[in-house]
Symmetry: D2
Subunit: 411 residues, 4 copies
């Protein structure tokens, strides 16, 4: 157990309870898990953005009989009160807000010493440790799940290089995850965080969104929904045309640099906004990142060339340039929706964590028979979660008749 301040538990529990009220699918699974105890006697390591919603996932696993060891996945996304609250509810938690890179690695390592049977990774840090310095703790692993696009990309690269030791389910690629979490979750939480952190207007402003994957689509659509003029930059020509057809202007980042009031990177890549772009930007431009790592905006270069660093508001640092312009960076270029906001909305994570809960159960039950590799969630689990969610919303849909089923299979 490694907490910033155990005395924050009560506040954390209150946050967890609030989230739980709006997670009907996970609550339904918790009831099932309590009855069936699928994780009984098994050890699970969970690396997540440690806040109220992820706490609910940990509790559902625990209800299913698991011994849960939780840790963070980003030094700025851990909420110390939730960490304390979760710990008080019987989960082993090792996570602190604002820790150093060394402390961060230490926390992950602590969460692995339990020698997990399965684990949940978020971006690939756990996989990296288990294939390197923490290899000795991975001897009981039968499978895992991965939460993010970034992590899945890395898993594929690692597997292509012949270096992946376990079967890992790409939870991110489940329809009930990426179609909603990446798109609507990142979309809402990113614009909400920017508005809250800056108190600036989005209506009528020019917002440059780098990357038109699922996350970028969500962010662009929510910014436009708030009245912003959206410019999209891409490296994929097909996605670029989709962005044009969706009503956005498309251009290179160099062309967009002098036009943007806000810049939001969601590429999963690195060096997306760099020194040459900074030089073209307007005074007062606001930069932030909603992709996994803090290397999409080259904050380091900005810091080094600034003549002054201004502590503007919580989570906003202004970098004064030699020519008088000030460029403002939110949350040091880390995930803005988590580091300067509330993270994804509760109901979105309800679906995501249903994927994770059932994905972990699937890997526990089927992992022993699977070769190392990257796997998709079986379609029927996606459908099952979707039906739970429709039920929770009180919505009915049509069922295929036998004649229709036959027709769709005819030629």
């Amino acid at each position: 157990m490694l907490l910033r301040d155990p005395s924050l538990a009560e506040a954390g529990i209150r946050k967890i309870r609030w989230a739980k009220r709006y997670m009907p699918v996970l609550n339904e699974l918790e009831r099932v898990f309590e009855a069936e105890r699928p994780f009984k006697g098994r050890v699970v390591t969970v690396a997540v953005h440690l806040e109220a919603k992820t706490a609910c996932l940990c509790l559902a696993l625990k209800a299913g009989g698991a011994e849960v060891h939780a840790t963070g996945t980003n030094p700025l996304s851990t909420q110390d009160d939730v960490a304390a609250g979760l710990a008080s509810m019987g989960v082993d938690v090792n996570a602190m807000y604002g820790c150093t890179p060394e402390e961060y690695t230490d926390q992950l390592t602590r969460a692995l010493k339990c020698r997990p049977h399965i684990f949940l990774d978020d971006g690939g840090d756990i996989v990296e440790l288990l294939h390197g310095p923490c290899a000795q703790y991975g001897d009981r692993v039968v499978g895992a799940t991965e939460e993010t696009t970034t992590g899945v990309t890395r898993l594929h690269a690692r597997h292509a290089a012949g270096l992946l030791k376990y079967p890992v389910m790409a939870a991110n690629d489940a329809k009930m995850k990426h179609l909603f979490d990446n798109r609507y979750g990142t979309g809402q939480s990113t614009v909400a965080a920017i508005m809250h952190a800056t108190n600036l207007q989005m209506t009528g402003k020019t917002v440059v969104v780098a990357g038109y994957g699922w996350c970028g689509r969500g962010v662009a659509s929510r910014a436009a929904g708030l009245g912003a003029h959206v410019i999209v930059t891409e490296i994929d020509p097909v996605k670029a045309i989709e962005a044009v057809m969706d009503g956005y202007r498309v251009m290179t980042m160099e062309q967009a640099s002098p036009l943007g009031d806000f810049f939001i990177t969601v590429t999963g890549n690195r060096d997306v906004i760099t020194k040459p772009h900074f030089d073209l930007m307007k005074d007062g431009a606001v930069l932030c990142n909603a992709g996994h790592f803090d290397i999409e905006v080259d904050v380091k270069a900005l810091r080094e060339t600034a003549v002054e660093t201004i502590d503007q508001r919580p989570d906003i640092v202004g970098y004064a340039q030699g020519d008088g312009r000030v460029l403002n960076v939110l949350a040091e270029g880390r995930l803005v929706n988590l580091a300067a906001g509330q993270g994804h909305p509760v109901e979105i994570m309800d679906m995501t964590f249903a994927v994770q809960a059932l994905g972990l159960r699937y890997m526990l039950e089927n992992g022993p028979g699977m070769a190392p590799g990257v796997y998709d969630l079986p379609g029927e689990i996606d459908d099952q979660i979707a039906r739970f969610k429709l039920g929770a919303m009180g919505l009915g849909i049509d069922e295929l008749t036998e004649a229709q089923r036959k027709y769709m299979a005819s030629y």
Copy 2:
């Protein structure tokens, strides 16, 4: 050659010229084909909705050296003036508007007597003939392409049954096709046709869209863009939740029946709106179909139970019910955007037909070495078309740096 009226050629040529002005990608391919003559000496059968845009595709193939035999794919979508115009420009055309089912089959058969090397199918009628009554004309076939979701579904069913004789490229599944044609093409052309045919208001009206595939998304988004209140019906629970998140109400067709002012089916299935639904609808409700076949709305049942049939306006028949309500059906339940409208917008078909032109070329060159089955367009051809299109729009996008490329492949 089988035309309704060859004297309409001049009007048809004018329509073809207009379309050609707005098809920069196909024009670019035509220049390439003229230089390289990839279809030289080869016979191509093309089954399409015969209007100005498809005529341009035929002409591009002809410019590449092909002997082109064109026919229609729907008795109500052929435009007789375009058919005449295209014939006058050196293509063998067999198609007439409003022909009987028997005449329709005869026209397709005529277009196959040339014993094609490759063919373009649209919904599967050509494939069906070549696997049945016209099998003898298929002896030279090395491959084909299929234009629609419906046709691809049928190809998979046929192949699963071990009954597909050729390799067929699912042109429909190319990103540059279905992401734009099915979504934005069907979307715009469907609402445009409904507005033109009815002169009714969409703003503030309730529009029920059956099916939330690519076509349904397009239709829903355009109807909402015109101010309509959209209700989506689905049989897939995941798509149903996507529709909710996209801002639409979701319910069963039975629940939607008493609410809708307009009903639009885009499912690719049959019996989507039937007698029990008709009985619940409001007086004056308007029904139409934008899916491939005319069996999504059960017009037959409506006709049989009507106490009076009213010829309301061109392309609108009202069916008076015993209780006084009149339900109006557009274009007899056939593809409303083609039968009562102008078909897909020109620029959308420019991309679709670039997929077809390069797809046919690919099959001609590679088909002989491919086993029977359903194939995807190689990704680099999608990208090539996208880059042509970006160029035509004057838009630039970013290129990955070497460092970024490496980063994306790292783990």
Copy 3:
């Protein structure tokens, strides 16, 4: 009576019947008029875009006892079949599609020889005749209504000059008229007409809307709803900022000229797009007007400088420039939604013509006691129409409690 072809009556009657089905408010008023006969023995001149919806207005007045004399208000908006149909139903009609300016004036004059007690004007032509060459037919006039923004502007100018002889109600300024007809009516009908006439894609295209009044807002919103990138030009700085906040780019027409794929003028002014703008436009640009008169786009200048005039499609003329570019004008720069489309949607005109019907009744009853001038529709008539419409849509709204009413009047 002056018709192009009385034998078209049956087709016209069919169109009128279709419209009538979707005009519940006017039908309700017709029932009231039939019972109360408020126009009994009175002569009414009605100058309108003569198509199915306006025919229904004429019939409602007739049902109220009026002797109705109808004429057109634009040489390209009269539908000859509707004119014939309406005539066959007992209205004196003087209107022909495609007439010359001299014929047009003659038709209006014929419709005034009846010496009307009240009249409905649309753009001010009737007022002009009655204050000039037709003054002798105006001796019985007690009042009038005016349908358009343009007409109301002219009335104010005429009244300011002391030259207005009658009290005229600015029907256009009624909330139930301009908030819906100008905005949603012009919006939908304009984009529908453009799509139908051109078969071009609006999605992803740049649409330049000149003027951000009620009509301009409607057009911009519908174009954006179809996926277009909208640019607004304005001369009013406040409206310009509203356009920015509504998500549109704002610039001068000179700056917009090289960017636009479509140009739509809705200013009510003249010379909005002129020679210097034409010179900057892209090849293939499409120009049209949805404002009252055909002088917003300087088609005359375009015609004079063209090296060739191309008859592209019905309602589209291409003007080839010396440098090879072709600029396409829809409907000769006349009201594109009427001249190349179906006019406003039926249900919108239902509300507009309810304003006109009750406005004419009000003027007949109150005009004798009113000084010459421009008057607003009394608010309670607006509310009455709105309540009829809500009833027709089956919608309920809240009522103020006595306590709320008091609170709103307190300080």
Copy 4:
């Protein structure tokens, strides 16, 4: 001077500086004021939501020579750090967050003891005091401005009763104020506050907006822009139909009660959501108010009938009902965007406060010659502010030519 904690000044100054960076119009006016000193030697009382943006207005007035006395206008909207910061910059501030009603009145009274020449009111509390218990401090008043719809409604009521002593400018009614502040300001800040306070999803949720005035339109449009399904309730039938045409469902509050996930009142009236509605709501429903006073949602009734009161999260209280449902109220039913959020975006207030600054100057210069009553801002001041704003955004618009000007004045 009456502050919660003067030591918070530095944090407050930082907030003020941040806001100032994004208020180009007010900065421009401040430069003009510094040069012309229009308020030299005059005493101004300013009652506002005391946060960073309003502080900038006070500073601009001060730069113009005014002796400024500031106070709050809502016990929950004052930010103590900004109050301290503003005080440290030379303004007399009397305002504290979370004060009692008695303390609140005391603070307003203190801000009036200076015997102001002009004052800025926000909702009418200052006017009420100066016409009642503080009448003796109003002897030097020559005029005032009022910020809100609510305040203007009350001024009209007071004037109608013959009880208004001064000329007051309805700053709220200036185009550059209500078209932007009420619509886009309230819209963005309300949804931002709700998302931040609750961490709940708006996408796909049902949001009930009570009132479709400028504020309601803004809130509805932003909620829909975030993917919510919006229901509007109204008491005005014309506005109700506008809401339908804008794509929202319209019904009574009673009908909406069981459907809503979020309820937002923006009516300016009282008792909009009451006990009978609470009884129909879903478990977990969230209620809040963005209208001026905390009597739109009857929180008192909710409190009295609750079996338990749950402190859910900061700014959220849950009221458990006897049947197990919990209804959650944000910010005790006070202005949610101020009490639980950041208030209006900076750039919106830049325009609003330009109206106030020029309005106060106008009243100072012209008030002595004006009778008591409610006045509009002269249109040319609106235009001047709009042109400043366009300039700050770098946007150009067209100018009328002489020929166009003449045409618009012709008949």
